[in-house]
């Protein structure tokens, strides 16, 4: 297991180099002079010159690339123009907020997605199955930020049950966290719930058709044991594989959802950076999220080995 983990970590290095190159290249896409764009329309030539020097844009390209990687090796992603704070520091400060909401959303996804998927498969070709399938399809078709806005109208404006935004850390007050984080987590979860329900349902249908399930039933085991003990273990495998994917979708959605609910996480940090053309923050944020996602995927793959011993033996990848 340790060897496999180490191997995966080493494999991550070339990919990380390419990913960082892409995020470095992002600023080269800016039409015209990035320093002028960032300075805004009111900037004096002197101010623009300062921005240019700070970002090293006055140096030749190879030198920019060299110092980019030299800084990266020290964990330095540059300085945010907007906050005047190192990008890395700002990202790390806000990581717990996004992590807590993502975790909440992931739990909602896995619980709801698994239960509805399994129920639909057990009631195959009945109205329950059809209703679940239709709801799952609608779930993957709604724009999540629009759903968030509609929930604000319903739960905050009309019913007055939940605040329209803000964030309370779970360590400060669990009730406060649930009050502020439920709507963002639910808007983020909806798409994944639809996705996971569909995957769970079709996997469960496959598994229920297998011989060992028939054997288990023939032995006279109660249906609950057959489903929960024999079938579920095998349904978990594809579920674990899509968790990496689910995390990616969650982080993708965080920019717009955190902006709508004014949650002070990485997403809204990037949302603000986009509005103000804070390129160092955009570049650094993208790289940070991509790297975090790669690490999470390795964690998921290692966990995969825990659920499915076959993977461990042949040392997949």
């Amino acid at each position: 297991m340790a060897r496999y983990t180490l191997k995966r970590l080493l494999q991550m290095i070339p990919l990380l180099l390419l990913v960082s190159l892409i995020s470095f290249g992002l600023i080269k896409l800016v039409p015209g002079d990035p320093a002028v764009v960032m300075g805004g329309s009111n900037a004096t030539p002197a101010e623009i010159e300062v921005i240019r020097r700070n970002l090293g844009l006055d140096q030749p390209l190879w030198q920019q690339l060299l110092s980019f990687y030299a800084n990266l090796a020290r964990g330095d992603l540059g300085r945010s123009l907007l906050l005047g704070q190192p990008v890395m520091e700002a990202l790390v400060e806000r990581t717990p907020v996004t992590l807590w909401i993502s975790l909440y959303s992931l739990i909602l996804t896995v619980v709801v997605g698994l239960v509805t998927g399994i129920v639909a498969a057990l009631r195959h070709n009945t109205w329950v199955d059809q209703a679940v399938s239709i709801l799952a399809l609608i779930g993957v078709s709604l724009p999540n930020f629009w759903l968030g806005l509609m929930m604000i109208v319903l739960f905050s404006v009309w019913l007055g049950w939940l605040p329209t935004g803000g964030y309370v850390a779970p360590s400060t007050s669990l009730v406060g966290f649930l009050q502020t984080a439920t709507m963002p987590a639910l808007s983020l979860a909806l798409l994944q719930i639809g996705l996971l329900t569909r995957i769970t349902r079709s996997t469960m249908l496959d598994v229920l058709g297998q011989d060992y399930i028939r054997t288990a039933r023939a032995k006279g085991l109660p249906e609950t044991v057959v489903v929960l003990k024999h079938a579920l273990a095998n349904v978990m495998i594809p579920v674990v594989t899509v968790i990496g994917l689910i995390l990616s979708v969650l982080l993708s959605g965080s920019v717009i959802i955190e902006t709508i609910f004014s949650v002070p996480g990485i997403g809204s940090l990037l949302g603000n950076a986009i509005l103000r053309r804070d390129y160092p923050m955009i570049q650094g944020g993208l790289l940070f999220v991509a790297a975090a996602l790669m690490l999470l995927n390795i964690v998921v793959d290692v966990l995969y080995g825990v659920f499915d011993p076959r993977v461990r033996v042949d040392g997949r990848g």
């Binding site: 896409l29 399809l137 078709s141 509005l275 991509a290």
Partner: protein, 297 residues
């Protein structure tokens, strides 16, 4: 919202060649496909006819009639400047669908080119797929946002950003089928007969890779419509004078307490369109590619 990456789910020998007559008959019997096609036809016809059926110019203001609730006279109400929301939603749909179509076309061209080159001429495979992996390491919408933020807000920006995000995914789907098809006996036979690589690729390999491609493109269309809304909402898309559904939602957000319909209706329009595309994609997948029952996005 990553696109279908089905490498792991696809086995050899199960790709079906398109047989137009038989495929069409089976599609017409597929409920999801028919329902999706109906929804999409309605959306497409209504938005295409926007210049003729809109009750007024989408940007004509009539301050006297501002914030009218949906009624017989104004089915979708009017906005803060008294603009008729029916016209704005119809015209907005035109732009949203146009962007989606462009993204699909760019995906078809470059996804096929890169996927075919990568899967058939293995020399470039390593490099191309590593670049694809790197692009796919970023959460999809986040990368699109980054690219769009760098390029500056415009419709072209949105198209380019979304194309860059989804082309690697389409290329991967095509590469996976090319890898299977190129090893089939009849391809080897064609090679033994002395057919050139280009001829084998165009005449023998690619036609057999169309089924998964079509399925993939229908989902790319769905994601493109959803992501366009996100980018426009964040102010990275078209200027406000040319409404798209995402821009309408962003505009309505400021008045969401008093005039919920301004936000609710454009969002519902997106939902109906994307639902139609997803149904269409499900139906196509069931008929064209029966092994692939799960969409692993």
């Amino acid at each position: 919202m990553a696109a279908v990456d089905a490498d792991s789910l696809r086995g050899p020998g199960l790709l079906e060649r398109l047989r137009p007559g038989r495929t069409a008959r089976r599609l017409m019997r597929n409920r999801a496909f028919v329902l999706g096609a109906i929804l999409l036809t309605v959306v497409a016809v209504v938005t295409l006819l926007a210049p003729w059926i809109s009750p007024s110019d989408p940007n004509r203001m009539a301050v006297r009639f501002r914030f009218r609730e949906p009624s017989w006279e104004y089915p979708f109400g009017t906005d803060n400047l008294g603009r008729n929301m029916v016209s704005r939603v119809l015209w907005g749909g035109r732009l949203s669908l146009e962007i989606g179509l462009w993204v699909v076309m760019l995906n078809a061209v470059f996804g096929v080119m890169l996927g075919a080159v990568s899967g058939y001429f293995r020399r470039l495979d390593g490099l191309l797929m590593r670049v694809a992996d790197a692009l796919m390491a970023f959460p999809s919408v986040l990368l699109a946002i980054g690219i769009a933020a760098a390029l500056g807000p415009s419709v072209t920006t949105v198209v380019i950003a979304l194309a860059v995000v989804y082309i690697p995914r389409t290329a991967r789907v095509l590469r996976a089928s090319v890898l299977v098809v190129r090893e089939l006996d009849y391809v080897q036979a064609a090679r033994a007969c002395g057919a050139s690589d280009l001829r084998i690729l165009l005449r023998h390999v690619l036609p057999n890779c169309m089924a998964p491609l079509i399925v993939q493109l229908s989902f790319v269309f769905a994601y493109a419509v959803l992501s366009e809304a996100v980018l426009s909402f964040l102010g990275l898309g078209a200027p406000p004078t040319t409404p798209s559904w995402g821009i309408l939602i962003a505009e309505g957000r400021s008045y969401i307490r008093e005039a919920t319909w301004l936000t609710a209706i454009p969002g519902a329009a997106i939902a109906v369109t994307v639902l139609g595309l997803n149904l269409l994609g499900d139906g196509l997948r069931d008929v064209l590619d029966p092994r692939l029952k799960v969409d692993a996005r």
